[in-house]
Amino acid sequence: MSVDTQTVKRVAHLARIKVSDDDATRMTGELNAILGFVEQLDEVDIDGVEPLTSVVEQTMKKRADGVTDGNKADDIVRNAPASEDNFFMVPKVVE
């Protein structure tokens, strides 16, 4: 399978990365090189093979559903590009 420049632009939009037309054209070639490389997997007989979901056999650890952490709003917003009264500030979303 290979991608065209239109698909690259669509995928870039899904990934929320702005790309120029030139970027998209260049990336099309690069992505197709990688997709061409991974195509060798078609040679492998995967009939009846279960996908690997965990490399270590282990039951997922669980804990009681309780509050174990918190009261650190200052810490959480400290690295924000814009914040006010412990809220993250973003451009207006709703008209």
Binding site: P51, L52, K61, N79, A80
Partner: protein, 494 residues
């Protein structure tokens, strides 16, 4: 007085206990080396000299009373991927501009609890995506090794290139690193240092910037097998904050060093003999086989038919997980923000300006293979192939194999800004051909320096072990180190 920066961690540990020197003297010696070398080698992205001296003084106070942890007063470098409270933590990406976490990763917390001293944060490929440390926002790291009679700059490998260079050039006693497809073992091999990626689940991933969560593992880079065992003992732990951390007590890895390998079964997989592999790599491999034979190990031939599919499967699984992990960088909660006319444009502008080319490439591949209609053809298939790769290893263990010996890399270090490698991303990816199988199966792997090539550059051998059997890797690794000797680059830098 002896050059304190030439000591191993094991030697410094004894020297500090005997009060032959103080941690402050040791730390100052390394800060001196960093100040002299960093302009040439670019291994550190930030140096925390004041903090280091404070930590060293605190260690000296403990040592004076005869107290102190396993790493008391030992100066280390930390890869920029580990969250360190109030200190530069940016995964060497522009998108994490100015980020200073208000928390500490479990691995570094463990190191500080054992008394280690932090010298600073080490350069790396952006978000650990790269095999040459050239994708860093902070510029490439330079390998302290050069070809005989050449002054051309070589890469230290990646993504833990800063860690490997800092150790090799005596800018720290040891360093933390991480390995998703070979990012500890390949740079260790390129710089004549020892690097181990432990079993998935051995070191906590909590507070380590995520790249591909089912593959990422932390581990150390150090001068000797013993030093890497000492560091891993402190880095590893059982951590309730990481649900993939495994409930197995951390053994005393150092106790395995010096044990005979007599009777151990070492597997040699035929499929690691790649077309076009330089003769010198094959010779090195044969030398390693002979050393282990001479030490009394039994050599058995193995067939691991799915080896060649590990790298293509990796280039589906890793980008898929990365595209999901890196969705969090949106200019809202931390790091860079580039304004736009609305919030969607702000996201797109921020991510366009904040991510480098390699990272964007992998996010796009990952987004594509996970997008509607392609999931089964790519991601699901890759995860099935991964089961087969793991099965190849499981069969070897079932047949009584104790460890597997392979070359660490298909070549020695290559030059910075190599046009051929940069024009074709797949060529660069082939660097991980021998290491990536280990991540796909979640196994431990160690790279040990084993010799120099004709041009005088270091080459490494890789040992792959059973899950949570790092001890056997240290045991066998020491035999290789004893036979091969140690390797030190000729100093040309400041």
């Amino acid at each position: 007085m002896t050059d304190l920066t030439k000591l191993t961690i094991a030697e410094a540990r004894d020297g500090l206990k005997n009060k032959d020197y103080t941690s402050l003297e040791l730390t100052d010696a390394f800060i001196g080396n960093i100040e002299a070398a960093n302009a040439s080698l670019n291994a550190y992205v930030t140096v925390t000299a004041d903090k280091a001296r404070d930590m060293a003084k605190a260690s000296d106070a403990k040592l004076a009373k005869g107290d102190g942890g396993a790493l008391e007063g030992i100066p280390l470098g930390i890869k920029d991927l580990f969250a360190t409270r109030d200190v530069h933590t940016q995964a060497c990406s522009h998108i994490l501009d100015g980020f200073k976490p208000q928390y500490e990763s479990t691995v570094t917390s463990n190191l500080w609890a054992d008394g280690a001293v932090m010298l600073g944060k080490l350069n790396m490929d952006e978000f650990a995506m790269g095999s040459s440390n050239e994708t860093s926002y902070y510029g490439p790291v330079i390998n302290p090794w050069r070809k005989k009679g050449s002054n051309q700059d070589l890469v230290p490998g990646g993504s833990s290139g800063g860690s490997a260079t800092a150790v090799a050039a005596r800018m720290c006693m040891g360093a933390t690193a991480t390995d998703t497809g070979g990012s500890i073992r390949q740079p260790a091999a390129f710089t004549g240092t020892v690097g181990i990626k432990p079993t998935y689940g051995r070191c906590s991933r909590w507070g380590v910037v995520a790249f591909a969560s089912s593959l990422d593992q932390a581990g150390p880079i150090a001068h000797t097998v013993r030093d890497s065992a000492i560091l891993l003992k402190s880095m590893a732990s059982v951590d309730p904050k990481d649900t993939t951390s495994v409930d197995i007590e951390v053994p005393d890895y150092e106790a395995a060093i010096g044990k005979s390998v007599k009777g151990l079964k070492i597997g040699i997989p035929a499929e690691y003999r790649m077309d076009g592999m330089p003769g010198e790599i094959e010779e090195l491999w044969q030398k390693g086989i002979q050393w282990l034979k001479d030490a009394g190990a039994e050599i058995v031939d193995l067939s691991m038919p799915h080896t060649k599919y590990a790298l293509p499967a990796y280039y589906i699984v890793a980008p898929a997980e990365a595209s999901s992990n890196l969705a969090r960088y949106d200019g809202v909660r931390y790091g860079l923000r580039v304004p736009g006319k609305d919030i969607a444009e702000m996201y797109e502008n921020t991510r366009a300006a904040g991510f480098g080319e390699e990272v964007k490439r992998r996010i796009l591949i990952g987004t594509y293979v996970l997008s509607a209609g392609y999931y089964d053809a790519y991601y699901l298939k890759a995860q099935k192939v991964r089961t087969l790769i793991k099965r190849d290893f499981d069969l070897a263990w079932q047949n009584g194999v104790d460890a597997i010996l392979t070359p660490a890399t298909p070549s020695a270090a290559f030059r910075v800004a190599d046009q051929e490698l940069h024009s074709d991303p797949v060529k660069m990816y082939l660097n991980d051909i021998f290491t990536v199988t280990v991540n796909m199966a979640g196994l431990p792997g160690i790279s040990v320096p084993a010799g120099l090539d004709k041009t005088g550059l270091p080459l490494g051998l890789q040992l792959i072990g059973k899950p949570f059997d790092e001890s056997t890797l240290f045991q066998i690794g020491q035999v290789i180190e004893d036979a091969a000797g140690s390797f030190e680059p000729e100093k040309w830098w400041g």
